[in-house]
Symmetry: D2
Subunit: 329 residues, 4 copies
Amino acid sequence: MILFVVKGNDSLLLEKLNSSSASYKKLNLYGKEVILAWPDTETETIDDPAIEIKVKVKEPYPLVSNKWKKEPTRVRVGDVEIGGDKIVVAAGPCAIENEEQVITDAKAIKSSGASILRGGAYKPRTNPYSFQGLGEKGVKLLRKAGDEVGLPIVTEIMDTKDIELFRNYVDMIQIGARNAQNFSLLKEVGKLGKPVLLKRGLANTVDEWLQSAEYLLSEGDGNVVLCERGIRTFEKATRFTLDVGGMIAAKLMTHLPMCADPSHPAGKRELVHSLALASVAAGADMLLIEVHPNPEKALSDSEQQLTPESFALLMERIKALASAIGRSV
Amino acid sequence: MILFVVKGNDSLLLEKLNSSSASYKKLNLYGKEVILAWPDTETETIDDPAIEIKVKVKEPYPLVSNKWKKEPTRVRVGDVEIGGDKIVVAAGPCAIENEEQVITDAKAIKSSGASILRGGAYKPRTNPYSFQGLGEKGVKLLRKAGDEVGLPIVTEIMDTKDIELFRNYVDMIQIGARNAQNFSLLKEVGKLGKPVLLKRGLANTVDEWLQSAEYLLSEGDGNVVLCERGIRTFEKATRFTLDVGGMIAAKLMTHLPMCADPSHPAGKRELVHSLALASVAAGADMLLIEVHPNPEKALSDSEQQLTPESFALLMERIKALASAIGRSV
Amino acid sequence: MILFVVKGNDSLLLEKLNSSSASYKKLNLYGKEVILAWPDTETETIDDPAIEIKVKVKEPYPLVSNKWKKEPTRVRVGDVEIGGDKIVVAAGPCAIENEEQVITDAKAIKSSGASILRGGAYKPRTNPYSFQGLGEKGVKLLRKAGDEVGLPIVTEIMDTKDIELFRNYVDMIQIGARNAQNFSLLKEVGKLGKPVLLKRGLANTVDEWLQSAEYLLSEGDGNVVLCERGIRTFEKATRFTLDVGGMIAAKLMTHLPMCADPSHPAGKRELVHSLALASVAAGADMLLIEVHPNPEKALSDSEQQLTPESFALLMERIKALASAIGRSV
Amino acid sequence: MILFVVKGNDSLLLEKLNSSSASYKKLNLYGKEVILAWPDTETETIDDPAIEIKVKVKEPYPLVSNKWKKEPTRVRVGDVEIGGDKIVVAAGPCAIENEEQVITDAKAIKSSGASILRGGAYKPRTNPYSFQGLGEKGVKLLRKAGDEVGLPIVTEIMDTKDIELFRNYVDMIQIGARNAQNFSLLKEVGKLGKPVLLKRGLANTVDEWLQSAEYLLSEGDGNVVLCERGIRTFEKATRFTLDVGGMIAAKLMTHLPMCADPSHPAGKRELVHSLALASVAAGADMLLIEVHPNPEKALSDSEQQLTPESFALLMERIKALASAIGRSV
């Protein structure tokens, strides 16, 4: 596929494309006009003064690739910028259970230095008889808690029919691991124009993950953060296998920021610190961590949520580590 | 969880459940009243003359389990019955491309002995620039082809917003591997009351797969066929690893019929016959096979679709095998 | 790599090779002189009247590949031929425990139609405190049992220091899954000139498995049977995942016969029949099945060994199946 | 299993064990007398004044478990101590190629702060036609280089027949991933009484890995360092998947020190730094890193070996990181 970055008047270039037998798609990404055109044999010879950059991208994810955009993308969520020197920590409960729980938690994680509030309202539970989340009510409680403590919020969407709710209440939209190849959902969320946190599917290769991100970018908005959350392997001593290598391999191929979720692969509290620190040392730009005011009474994932005290300690450790590698929190 | 099968007047039993602190859910499955009640400590001592069967099910998929329903479920799609002695073969193109293609294919597969027509209209493609299927138009073309040759049709749904279309045009609804844990979709499709073909997700354990089926059954309709289509492993000589053992392990735990899809794991035509025969020998009740009138020109999966001639030969081999194991086609 | 099959006087050809800067290796395989020579740039232009076949093999397993040897190799163990129309069944206990057990078992499996006696003397046990097998004594007991009932024997070697014992007592030498990439052992066993049953390692790709076989063939003896015994995946409903697709993918690339071991991946008796039948239907030439006179008292693998009665029934089912696919038992 | 630590005269205790129907094994580990006795039902009631510690260990690796030995084991290799506050770095070429290469490399890695010299002499190569290492000659060259720069050496053993060579020339013996369940080799190496670096097998669970270590400890020497080097998963963007979570899960269960090998899972130079830093941040006590004076001309693993310059930079980064987490290099 040939990717053009266009500067100024594109009318002659479009004419050339229209008169060829090539197909093309025009987008606006990061304040630039980008045109994808194919097949290569038709389009690589096209030339025009309006073309600022012309790149042939072999990877199946041209927009996500850093072949055309060398500088890292910084994704802004409220006042928070993801992808710069500062490591951004999003924290909060696995599931929003009630107002008191989420507000208590929001205060705790903020005071320890988290800058985004996370919490699950729509919960993709393996079992139909498990707590399914508070749904719309949960989203509104999270909004309220975020407003009260002054933090932007991130929460997961599971169905295209909830798009309007998320448009009105949510700052950053999470696509969960189980919907990482729910392409209908990716397309609709891509159109929304809000920052997206895209988790890697349990069985997705780095290549497939980046192609899921391409679904989002090809709808025209580039505010996507990739999130490694553990893949499924034969090993059962941990809940999932956090693929630090795959995360960095992906980072080397894209301009998008990278988040790590150390809570889900850990499965147990004892491992969360180690996985969080490992992710930061490897190069993650953001962390997503489950913290619950009283993990043992949590309605879901009680084994892996940190207490506020443990989270405060982890933040101290992350700060020390970040400064050793030339970053901050 | 305690599962009750109730015969006759349930009013006293419901009274007992209501006056306890237990939760319960009442369903109508296979012409029987079924009540699920929990926690066990509250419900296992409940007794009533209306209780025909009382079973404690430890598995997280009580309705899907064969602990309470020993006889295999037979799922009816049009005139076709899946789960009896007869091995049912569904065949057709990976993607519906145009009217001629699907009708030609439908005639070919019918004349070789297939009894359900399959074809993709909504296509979950890894890459956003790949052919995404004809959508609604494709569903209608498949309906037309099915009617013309007199075969019921099965096709994949990807989004809850398409439920009405599928209600009106489709005989059996497929949930694809990438949506195997799209729980919003499972719930909506479960409510529809049509036969469902539930593929196993690429990274789903047998346990998780059966819990996805439980989502469907817990909405009240029991016409579900499970479909093994290959899991993701380290091996790349095949596209996916057909898990014949997992398929049979699942079959030993449930009353639902079992389908195998030999086309997707094969990835190449040469392997499809072997995997189809292996699945039947192991105990599959149904096969789902991709056949295209001209595979090399197919818009998707061109490497793995059989020609009509090869499919005809495969049907002969399946017939010989089926009769050797006391079944028919 | 260039592979030459040479007929007649090779002196001129060798002279050409010697005078080039190429490296080469000369072997005698299946009654033919075979020369491997590399790099291709030096050797593909070499020509000589003594060259019967000249093939460029891209695969990293030239001798094992069927690019140069189209007809399937038949491996002879005693009077038994593996790789022809007849499906060969090797059966016997997981571990040899005592004389009575192995002789009782040998009689039982022979009377049901098995043609090779298997049994473990050196046992690769995950845990150091598990029964480690009878070692040398076990090998001799197996020999005695084989002689008494008139069946050749196959048993596993674990250490190069036992080569002499195996030379003197064993008809077919098994390389186990955990030693599938113990290259020292492969080299020594290759030199022995006895038929080898090479299991696929738990994490070996088809490509790696065939390269392990190449280690055996490159030592000069070609009597190797490949054995698929289940790979390690995330699925735990079975002990291992029998990779029927990988087995057939391998078969399409090699001239060597293919064995399937349905006992180890099954992990439970109930699944062994299904996996055995699936393997035969897919195209296996041989089966390796654990049978114990009293499985519940077995010192190892008690969950997966068949009773003699169940084995007799399985043999009947295999016979019916074999005849449906044009083979016999 | 019951594990006793015995202090003083054990004769009465042994008498009690002998007169029971229990089995037991007596060892000397870390300067203490340790007795393992089973089955639990026979041995857990045994009491004696000589018993300092009595623990029931459910894990299948009692000696390796930290249930009886809370303080971390420190393994001494020459003057180097592994398992204390200092992070130990072993570095050197994948394969020893000639004297100049290994001595140049040894000087370079020493000057950057590595404290053990690694290098492969016996190379377990997937392909029989790949460079197989210099064998005995290589071991002697490594010894010479180690002596010249004043560093202890670690190198891999592949066959029990080389035990004497390793006894005489090698400071720390590596068991490679492909021999991680070569139990014959584990037993022989365990008897040798030298420090061992035990790599995790490509498909080994944490549980199996610790049981392989148990083979070593049950032969009576406790100087074992565990080494995570990447497991085999579906992901191919990296060569193997470094399982940081599994490494830490193992560390939480054992008293043995933990090493990480970031070179093999990386497969490419660009990822080695990230994986090394991640491992240290997570809690590794040691690193094993491939460094070659001229990686592009290396006879093996040329893609993943660091240049001396890149290694020097990595050491600086490790030092900064180590001090941020309260350790040193």
